[in-house]
Assembly symmetry: C2
């Protein structure tokens, strides 16, 4: 596995691949890699000749008071996992490579507001602007054939699809299903903030979502009621709920009576740790075809 | 000369060029081509194997009440000029190709505020956001080796350089000096809104800027005074001045005593027509090395 830290190093690795006509898949991450990330790498491996994983904890997508400073950084371990997962190139930019003139006063990408200002965006103002700005830059730097994102961050996936469509990036976005612990908890770097009791409570987030998705899928229930009951179930286990919402999978719009392809999304605090998860609902009840 | 109207048509022309390893230069225009544009095409010709000229009157960079609707559209004439100038590809997108989901609610690029909110940006709020958004999309669609812009729109040139630097587009920006009529008037599509008397008055814009730049170049004068006198000279000829400003060429910052690489920029109304121009000043008094 090769490594690149600067744009020049990155391009010197990419050039021979391009000349050889090889396709590339980029997996953007913030490091602290777990099996969820490795599922992204495996999907990348299946769909492209070469796999690039970027590791960059992007300050622009953290709000004031969020966990940017304590976000887990485990580079040595990450590199070993990537090597084992047959990643071809680890791109490890520093701040200067991503934001050559700093963040303040720079050209910025603003995410499509209808997608970016609801749910996560309502609780984390500016978060998705930070996401699309760094993704735009990574796409410009690496110019991959495919970029891979997890359904765990479902709203992020839609926001990035919209970025690619609106600004015309010549890249295919490949979504990958969420990887879960046996108890149902979606894998996340933030899970390690949790102690044992926290993990038990956190598992309730996915369990409540799964139940809600199942009830919606049967089509005999009022969505508001399902949201309320899922929220109540989470609260009983000690979670502090930011939102539980049944939305259209395609655009996160409020679900109407006729909509079939739905998603139940939630964010909740387990102590000082904020977790998000989502589950496909509606008629298919399988991974949303987005 | 080939033509492309959709992304698919564009890519089918670009693909063999790329496979052959040919470099490309993109000249983004709003059409109504004059000798200023043809100087951009000639520069493109010199620096790349293939020349692409895009023609698209971008609604996003016009403000409410500006001249979007009456902006001159002269496609047949434009195509003849491009053919004669040995352009390889005319890219003629419609609104749907540039903004597939429309403008409202789309992902947008916001230009670097310190560059984009002064001078033109102060008089045309949102103008440069519209410019960088369409340029970002054109760069994604055409992925050129070089993109060519005229110094006539000097602030736009800096804003686009910053876009490319901040978001990491793998493209070189090639600036081209302003082309002028014998009387000094900078060529512009908006000149055709002027009658004969208007042209005489408009020529005063460049004459006053040239004089101001010359005085600044001699280094013995107070800049505020030069700005004031240039403004006064324009007013005497019936121009309504939006601004005359001596600024640093590199970042349009307020010129300090020690700054050497300066530019005098102005915008003024000649009747109902708004014109802009600029002139290099300071020690070199040649085209700014930006």
């Amino acid at each position: 596995m090769q490594q690149a830290r600067t744009r020049e190093q990155l391009w010197s690795v990419l050039r021979p691949w391009r000349l050889a006509g090889q396709s590339t898949a980029l997996v953007p991450t913030m490091g602290n890699l777990h099996d969820g990330h490795l599922a992204l790498v495996a999907a990348a491996r299946q769909h492209a000749d070469r796999v690039i994983v970027s590791i960059y904890v992007n300050p622009a997508q953290f709000g004031a008071g969020e966990d940017f400073l304590r976000y887990p950084r485990t580079l040595e371990d990450d590199l070993q996992r990537l090597e084992a997962a047959q990643c071809d190139l680890a791109f490890l930019p520093d701040d200067r490579t991503i934001y050559p003139r700093g963040l303040d006063g720079a050209t910025q990408v603003r995410a499509a507001p209808a997608l970016a200002n609801v749910l996560e965006g309502a609780f984390r103002p500016g978060h998705f602007d930070g996401v699309v700005t760094v993704v735009a830059r990574l796409l410009n730097l690496a110019a991959p054939t495919i970029a891979v994102f997890g359904e765990k961050d479902f709203q992020q996936l839609l926001v990035i699809r919209r970025l690619v469509e609106d600004l015309g990036y010549p890249v295919r976005i490949l979504p990958v299903a969420t990887v879960r612990e046996p108890g149902g908890l979606a894998l996340s770097s933030r899970n390690q903030y949790l102690d044992h009791a926290g993990r038990v409570a956190a598992a309730e987030l996915s369990a409540a979502l799964r139940e809600a998705a199942g009830r919606i899928g049967q089509g005999k229930v009022e969505r508001r009621e399902v949201e309320r009951e899922a929220q109540e179930r989470m609260r009983r286990k000690g979670l502090r709920v930011d939102y539980v919402a049944v939305r259209r999978s395609a655009d996160l719009g409020e679900a109407q009576q006729d909509d079939r392809d739905l998603r139940v999304l939630a964010a909740a605090w387990c102590g000082a740790t904020r977790l998000i998860d989502n589950w496909p609902a509606g008629e298919t009840n399988g991974p949303a075809d987005i």
